[in-house]
C-alpha cells in the first residue's frame, strides 16, 4: 500500500514540470549566485575590477597635475575628473564611492613640506570599496608625492637644526627613505595624512547605517513574501471554485486581478508603515525627518512589490508552483538586491546586477531618506524606477492572467 501511494505521489510530482524545475534547477541557481557573490566565479584569478574615483584638482598646478596623472596610471582605479561641488553631490547621491580633492596650495605645501591640503570625501555606505580605495591611494600617493614632500620637510628640518650637516649624510638618509623600509620613512608615511571625510554628516537626524540596512532590507524582503502569499489567494479561489463563480458574474478577468492587487497594495502599505513605526519606536529610526519622502517611497515600494507579487501569481498555476517559485525568486532578488547582505560588501559586479531587483531600488530609496538626506527631487529617479517596475509588472500580469484564467479555472 505504501509503495502504491509513493508511486502515485512521485507520478503526480513529475507530471508538474514547473515544480520539477523549481525543485532541482532553482537551488542550483541559488548556490551559483551565492558562490559568485562571496567566492568569485571559481577561476581563482582574484582579478579586481577597478574602482571609479572622482578627482577634483582645485590647485591645478604642475605638481597636482602630476599626481592626477600618476594616479591615472593605477590599474585599480579609474579616475573621473569633476569639479569639487559636482563631485561631492555625486558621492552624496551614492553614484560614486568617493572624490579626491587636491586643494588650493597643494604645490606650495609639497615644496615647503607642510601638511598637504588634500581630502578624500567618501560614501560611508560603501565601506568595502572605500577600504580598498584607501589602501590603493595611500600606497600610490606615497610613491608619487610622499618622498618629495618628506625630502622637502627633512631639508628644512636639517637646515634649521643641523646647518652644517654634510650633503653625503643627507643623501644617505634620503636613500634609506627611498627604500621605504627605514624607520623614518615609515614614520613619515603615517604622518603624510590623507584627510578622510564622510559626505554624510552623522547627527541626531541621521539614521544608523546598519539599522537602515536592516529595516529597509528586511522590510522589502518580507513584503515580497507576504504579497506573494496574498496573491496566492487567487489560486486558493481556483481550488475552492470561487474563481469560477466570480467569472459567472459580470466581472471581467482584469477586475478580479486588480481587486486582488488593490488588496495586496493596501496590505503592503500597511506592512511597511507598521515596520517603520516599529523601527522608530524600538530602534529610534528617524522616520519623521522627511515624512513626505518616506510616504512617497512607501507608496512606490508597495506598488512595485504588490505588482511583482501579482506577476508571480499570474505565472503560477497551482499553490505549490507559486510557493516554490516565489521562495526562489524572492530569495534571489533579496540576495542580489541587498536585502540579505548589504550591497556594499558585495563585489562590484554584483552591485551592478543588483539594479534588476526591486529590493535594490527600495533599499536605496530608503538610504536616500535616512542616510543620504536627499531631497524628494533627488529621490525622484528611484521612485520613478519603482513605479516603472510596478507598471511593467502590472501590464505583464494582466496579459498573463487574461490568457490563463480559463486554464486556471479548468486546470
Amino acid at each position: 500500500m505504501i509503495l502504491t501511494i509513493l508511486k502515485k505521489d512521485l507520478k503526480l510530482f513529475f507530471s508538474d514540470k514547473k515544480a520539477v524545475l523549481l525543485t532541482f534547477l532553482m537551488p542550483i541557481l541559488l548556490i551559483s549566485l551565492f558562490a559568485f557573490a562571496f567566492g568569485g566565479t571559481g577561476n581563482n584569478s582574484n582579478k579586481k575590477k577597478p574602482i571609479q574615483l572622482l578627482i577634483s584638482d582645485v590647485d591645478n598646478s604642475i605638481d597636482s597635475k602630476s599626481v592626477v596623472s600618476k594616479l591615472g596610471e593605477i590599474n585599480e582605479i579609474i579616475l573621473i575628473p569633476k569639479n569639487e561641488e559636482e563631485a561631492t553631490n555625486l558621492v552624496i547621491k551614492g553614484k560614486y564611492v568617493g572624490v579626491l580633492i587636491l586643494k588650493k596650495g597643494f604645490q606650495d605645501s609639497l615644496k615647503t613640506g607642510t601638511s598637504l591640503p588634500m581630502e578624500l570625501k567618501y560614501d560611508a555606505a560603501r565601506q568595502i570599496e572605500m577600504g580598498m580605495l584607501q589602501s590603493v591611494l595611500v600606497q600610490n600617493l606615497m610613491s608619487s608625492i610622499g618622498q618629495k614632500s618628506i625630502k622637502a620637510k627633512m631639508n628644512s628640518y636639517f637646515d634649521q637644526n643641523f646647518a652644517g650637516i654634510p650633503n653625503n649624510v643627507k643623501e644617505k638618509i634620503f636613500s634609506d627613505m627611498d627604500s621605504g623600509n627605514g624607520v623614518i620613512a615609515k614614520t613619515m608615511n603615517s604622518k603624510m595624512g590623507l584627510k578622510m571625510t564622510s559626505v554624510i554628516k552623522e547627527d541626531t537626524s541621521t539614521g544608523n547605517l546598519g539599522l537602515i540596512q536592516a529595516v529597509a532590507g528586511t522590510a522589502i524582503m518580507m513584503l515580497l513574501f507576504s504579497i506573494a502569499g496574498i496573491g496566492g489567494g487567487l489560486l486558493d479561489e481556483k481550488d475552492a471554485g470561487t474563481l469560477k463563480r466570480l467569472m459567472y458574474s459580470p466581472l471581467k478577468a482584469t477586475d478580479i486581478l486588480f481587486g486582488k492587487m488593490g488588496a495586496a497594495l493596501i496590505l503592503a502599505i500597511l506592512q511597511l508603515v507598521v515596520m517603520f513605526v516599529f523601527s522608530w519606536l524600538v530602534f529610534g529610526l528617524p522616520i519623521f525627518k522627511d515624512i513626505t519622502a518616506l510616504v512617497l517611497m512607501i507608496l512606490a515600494t508597495a506598488f512595485a512589490v504588490s505588482s511583482f507579487g501579482m506577476f508571480l501569481v499570474a505565472i503560477a498555476k497551482t499553490r505549490q508552483q507559486l510557493q516554490g517559485l516565489s521562495t526562489i525568486v524572492i530569495l534571489v532578488m533579496s540576495a542580489v538586491g541587498g536585502s540579505m547582505i548589504p550591497l556594499f560588501v558585495m563585489p562590484p559586479i554584483m552591485q551592478k546586477i543588483a539594479v534588476v531587483s526591486v529590493n535594490y531600488w527600495g533599499i536605496q530609496g530608503f538610504y536616500d531618506i535616512f542616510w543620504r538626506n536627499l531631497s524628494i527631487i533627488d529621490m525622484l529617479p528611484k521612485i520613478a524606477v519603482l513605479v516603472g517596475i510596478g507598471l511593467i509588472m502590472t501590464l505583464i500580469s494582466v496579459q498573463l492572467f487574461k490568457k490563463n484564467i480559463l486554464k486556471l479555472i479548468y486546470a
Binding site: 475552492a240 471554485g241 470561487t242 469560477k244 463563480r245 466570480l246 467569472m247 459567472y248 458574474s249 459580470p250 466581472l251 480559463l406 479555472i409 479548468y410
Partner: protein
Amino acid sequence: MMIQVTNLSKSFEAVQAVNGISFSIEKGEVFGLLGPNGAGKSTTINMMSTILKSDQGRIYIDGNNLNESKNSCKHLIGVVPQEISLYEEFSAYDNLLFWGSLYKVPIKELKQRIAHLLDLIGLTDRKNHLIKTFSGGMKRRINIAAALLHQPKILFLDEPTVGVDPHSRNRIFEIIETLNKQGITIVYTTHYMEEVERLCNRIAIIDAGEIIAQGTQAELQKMSDVKESVEITFNAMSLDQKEKLQEFFSLTINSNPNKVIIECDVNTELSKIISACNTCGLIIEDLHLKKVNLETIFLSLTGKKLRD
C-alpha cells in the same frame, strides 16, 4: 423560447467534449441534461453560462446572442456550480451579500432579497454562522441562494446534489420546484436519473459530447423501444398451461421452465395477467415488475449504464 442552442461544439486539445449539439428550452421548463461523468454536461453549461467560448455554434439566451451580448446574458442567468463555491471564512449572510453585490443590486433591495432567500432555503436562523460550520447540505442550499440574488430568469444547476444526504436532497428538490413555480427556467445536469425523473419536464440524454435523444420521458421511452414487463415464476407449469397462457399474452420463456416474462403496460395490465394465471391454474411463486425508467432508456440508447 428561453434558450436556443444550435450546433454547439467544443474541444480541449484532442478531446471533443461537445460535438454539434442542438436543443431549445421553453420559458418555465425544467430541462434535464442527463449523462454519465465526462459526457459533456458541464462543458455545455459552461458555454451557456458565458465562461467558456464555444468552437462552433450559437447560443441564444432569451433572444440575446450570447457571443454578442455576453454581459446582458450574465444578468439573465444564475449558475449553481458543481463545487460549493463559497467563502468558508465568511458567514452565510456575508457570502450572499458579496455575491449579490457583484450584480450591483442596490444594498437595501439586496438585503431584502437575502432575507427572502434565506427564508426560502430555511437557513435564516443560521445566517450569521460561518460557512465552514455548515453541513454539506446546508452549504449546497447557500450555493443555490448565491445564484439567485440578481433574480435571474434562468437557473443552471450543475449536479447540485453531489455529496448530499437524502433529507437535504429532498430539501433542494423542494427549493427547485418552488423556484420553477415562480417562473424561473431551470437547466439541470445530473447523472442521477431519479432526480431528472422527479424534476424535469424534458430531458436531453448526452453521451460522449453528443445528444443521443431528447424529449419528455414518454417520448424517450418510445424512441428507445424499451417495454415494461413482468417476470413471473410459478411453482410448476405444464405444457398445456403454458399454451393456454400464450393465448392471452405473448410470452418469453428463459432457461427456467417455470418462469415467464410478459411484455405489458404494468400499470394497466398487471391485474389482467394475474387473473389469466389463475384461469390457467398456475400458482405464482414469485413476481417481478420491470418498469421502464431513464436508466433502462439510457442503457437501450447508449448501450451502457448511466454510472459506467
